[in-house]
Structure formats: C-alpha cells, structure tokens
Amino acid sequence: MAEIAIKQVAKRFGGFTALHSIDLTIADQEFMVLLGASGCGKTTLLRIVAGLETPSQGEVWIGGRRVDHLPPRDRGIAMVFQNYAVFPHLTVFENIAFGLRMKKLPQQEVERRVTRTAELMHIEQLLKRYSGQLSGGQRQRVAVARALAMEPDVILMDEPLSNLDALLRLEMRAELKGVLAASKTTTIYVTHDQVEAMSLADRIAVMHQGRIVQAASPVEVYRNPAARFVGSFIGNPPMNCIPATKTGNGSWTVAGLTLPGPKSDKHRIEFAIRPEDVDAGDEGLHATVRVVEPLGPHTLVTCDVEGGLFRAILESSAAIAVGDHLRLAPKADRIRWFDPETTNAL
C-alpha cells in the first residue's frame, strides 16, 4: 500500500512562489497525472515528492509514513527523468542494476530482476550496450526498466515522453500504460501534453500558476471543468466562452439565445460549450462563418459570435461556406457557466 498524501505543500524560490499550499491525495496504485503549461509548478511538485527539492512548508506522506525530511533513497520511490539520465559510463545492464546494487541485493536477484524488466521493456538484446549506442526510444526504455527493477511503491515520471518523436510517443504511451498497470505501483506522471494526460491518467490534476485548479478523472475534467482555465487548456480546439447577460432569475441571454442557467446576483456571467457540443439548426447562437476547415470525419468551423471567436465541430456533410449565417444550438446538458471574475464554474 502506497498512498501519497501531499499536505499544504508550498515552495518559494526567493520572492517567487512556485507552489501555493498544495493539497493532494493519490490513492494506492492510482495513476495521477500532473498537467499544466510550463512554469505552472508541476515539476517542482514532483521533485518535492521525490525529495530532490525541499518544500518551504507542508508535509509529504508516502504509504502512511512522513517522508519530507528523508533523502530520496529512503522514500521507496523510483523516477524516470525527462532526459532519461541513463548513465553513459555504464552498460544498459548496469544501469538497470544500479539501484539494486546500491541496495546490496545478491547478484542472483540482481540478474533476475534486470532480465525480467529488460524483457518487459523489450530491451533484453541491448543489455551489453552503452547509452551512446542507443536511440532516444531505447534510452527511454532503459530508464523505465531501471525504475521498474526497483519494484518501488511509487514511480515518478517527469515528462518521460516529451523528447520522443510523435510516432514513438504514441507507441510508448500505450506500452507505459500497460506496464505500469501491471506493476501495481502508484504513479505520478508530469506532462504538459493534454492528450497524454487524458489517455494515461486515472485522475488528472490540472495545475495553473502554482495551484491545482482541478483534480478529477479525465472525463470529468473534460466535461465539467472547474474553471475557465481547465476548459481552455484541455481540449483541442479549446472550450468556447462567450458572455451571457441576465434576463431574469436563472435566465440568461447568449448571442441572441435565451437559456436557463444558474441563479446568480451577477449581471453578466460566461457561457461555455465544447466545440463538438453544438449543432447547426434553425435555432441557436447567431454565428457568422469565418473559416471552414474540413478535417475528414468532421468539419471545424470558426465563427464570429458576439464579436468573439467561436469554434464548432460540425458534421462534414453540412454544406457551409465562409460568410454564411448559422444558428448553433448548444446541447443543453453540455452547457457550463463560469464566473467572469473568479473564472470558477457556477
């Protein structure tokens, strides 16, 4: 059992606050992805869990044990680094065996574990080679094998796929998911790639400016963003946000359409909808078509709505031309509302 609990962890570098009091609990065997743009603090948080960075305040617990005062080697963790950090002066075998030798495991056990993890990562034919003789993808595999060989409670991954080319990334992504699920470890995985996050995670913690904005399952994060940032950061193209004006108690006008919405004292709030959650019809938001991009399965239409850009993903059969006036009907159960000041969901 290795549940990770991060309690009110903050990190300041001089006058700059990288993390504002983070609270996050990661269940045993859960695959948690920390997602955010560069500089949001996700790597700092991971390094604090690893012990490579000291928090300015707060506690880190792993498996019911407080670890924030312990060196990395006493935390029961293994880590995969962004640049792999495969030692250049050691063979692949010795790289994978590095942590086991530090633990002073008997030679027989070292060999057994290295062979097993090398087979798991399909690098058993590379064991005698040096890092300089490997491709990026192979180094990545060595780095993962080295972490798995430790049979750790927790595996920490810092953008492990970001240095691979697109095709290899896709392949490794699927493989990582399988291997890590089978290993039954708790995983924290840092990435700025939302597709990677969606495809791998049991739960995604979306981070922005040193705070966790939302921590929920991929579908929940996508469907019910807790804040405007989440809606615009996740999803490609991002969620559309347009202003809504109050017309009654719980009734709002959005681009010529009156919709039932939250009860609020505010006069103006924001209406939000995913591009794929609108249909072109006789009723709906007034939109003027600006750009039409047929993408095969569907067509991406960029329109003017209330003077702002609005993207809609429509059926490719629809005959739409630039300059057309459309009525885009939002699916009622997919509409979300944000407070324009706090940007939080209403």
């Binding site: 080697r73 640049n83 002066h89 040096y130």
Partner: protein
Amino acid sequence: MHGKALPYLLLMPATLFLCVFFLYPFALVAFEAFTRDGGFTLDNFRTMTGNWKFPVAFWNTILLAAIVVPIQLVMALLMATVVSRLETGRGAALYIFAIPLGISDLAAGLIWLAIFDQSGFLNTLLSNLGLVDRPVMFLGYQSKLTIFVAVVLAEIWRATAIMMVILVAGIGLIPREYHEAAEVFGASPWKRFVKITLPLLRPSLQTAIILRVILAFEVFAVVAALGGTNFPVLMGETYNWQFSLQDRNVAAAFALLILAISVGLTLFFLRVLRVPKEARI
C-alpha cells in the same frame, strides 16, 4: 586561390611557426644530445648517468612528482567539488583559489623561502612563542627531509589550482540529472562521487593529471629557491650542465630524458584513463 590549396595555405602560418620555434629547436637539442665533436655518440648519456648526482636528481624528481601529484589531485577534487556546490560566491572562491597561479614559480619559491629561512616568518613565530631558543636551519644541507617537505608544500600551494580549474570545468559538464538519478536510486553522497562524478570526470582528470605530471617533471625554480644545490632535480641538473659546467651536449641529454619521461607518462595516462567513444556523455 580556390579549391584544394586553400585549407593548406591557411594552415601554413601556424605550421611555419611551429616548425621554426618548436620543431627546429627540438631537432637541434636532439642532435646535440647524440653528438660530440661532430660524430654520433651515446657518450653524453653515459656522462649523464655516470655522474654521482644523476641518481639523486632522478629519484628526487620522481619522488617529488609521486608525492605532489596525488596530493594535488585529491585536493583539487575536493576544492572543485566545493566550488561547484557553491550557489553564491562561486566566482570569488574560484578566483581566490587561483591566485597562486598568477605568481611565477620562482616568486612562489621565494615566498616559501621567506617562511622557512633562518630569519624567516616561521622561525620568528617559533622564537616569539618561546618554542625555540635560536633559529632552526630548516633548509640546511643536513635537512634534506625538511627541504623536501618545503618543496612539496610550495608546489602544492602553487600549482593545485591549475588542476582545480580544469576539474571545475569538467564537473560543470556533467548534467545534474545523473546525480539526481543516482540519488533517487539509492546512492549516498560518497557513492555518487565514486560511481558517477569520478567516472564521468575522467576526460578532465586525464587532462589535469597529464598537465600536472609534465609540469612536475619540469620542477626547477621552486627547488632552486628552497634547496639550492642541496636538493638536485633533473631540470636543475640540466641548468647546471648547460651554464655551470658549460656542457650543452649533456644538458641536451638531460632535456631529452625529461621529454622521454613526459611523453611516456602522457601515453600511460591517455591509455589508463581512456573513455571509450560509446561511453562518453
């Protein structure tokens, strides 16, 4: 001026410079070492090795190098590690450590002479503290050991920084992720130094050691200042034969011997500390 000739033409000035100022004098020295009165001979080498001072000078030089270089290596590693770890004041620390490098070796020898001399700082200190009744002859002809120790100290003080500078640069080249990976995978600070820093530092160690060993066999001015003729070394003997005994042929033989030792040790360290191409950073 185009085509194949151009690169060679561009190399010409440097090649000419090397030929005139390095290759030609070297050929001249080699020629003098193997000739006497116009004929080829090995007599110069026989004279050199036959002299009673030769074994003393030879072993003094070897012993000096064998003691000074390892101590300097350890100290330079320590200093380089400390400097590399500093987050503030790194430049200042590096600069202070490197000050002795700016002082010529004769001046360095004289500074240490001022310490160990009969009326030097050390004697003044000792007599003021009441530890000695009259000044001690630290560098007299009977006290070979203290001369040796004084030379070792002066050499360490003077020339450790050159190794340190090379090692600081080398440590800076090792990506931090390797240390972090080692830390996560269970290596203590000492293990990280032995298993990661030292092996990855090999190219810099090689450069530093070779440079320092060559300089150690050319030790001259510091010894001349502190030991005079009481502590013969190879370079001192070369000087002696050239200027006091006015025998340039034997001096040339000495010079060739020093060169041979330097080349031999350079090849040795190149081989021992070689990093295979596939194992480089």
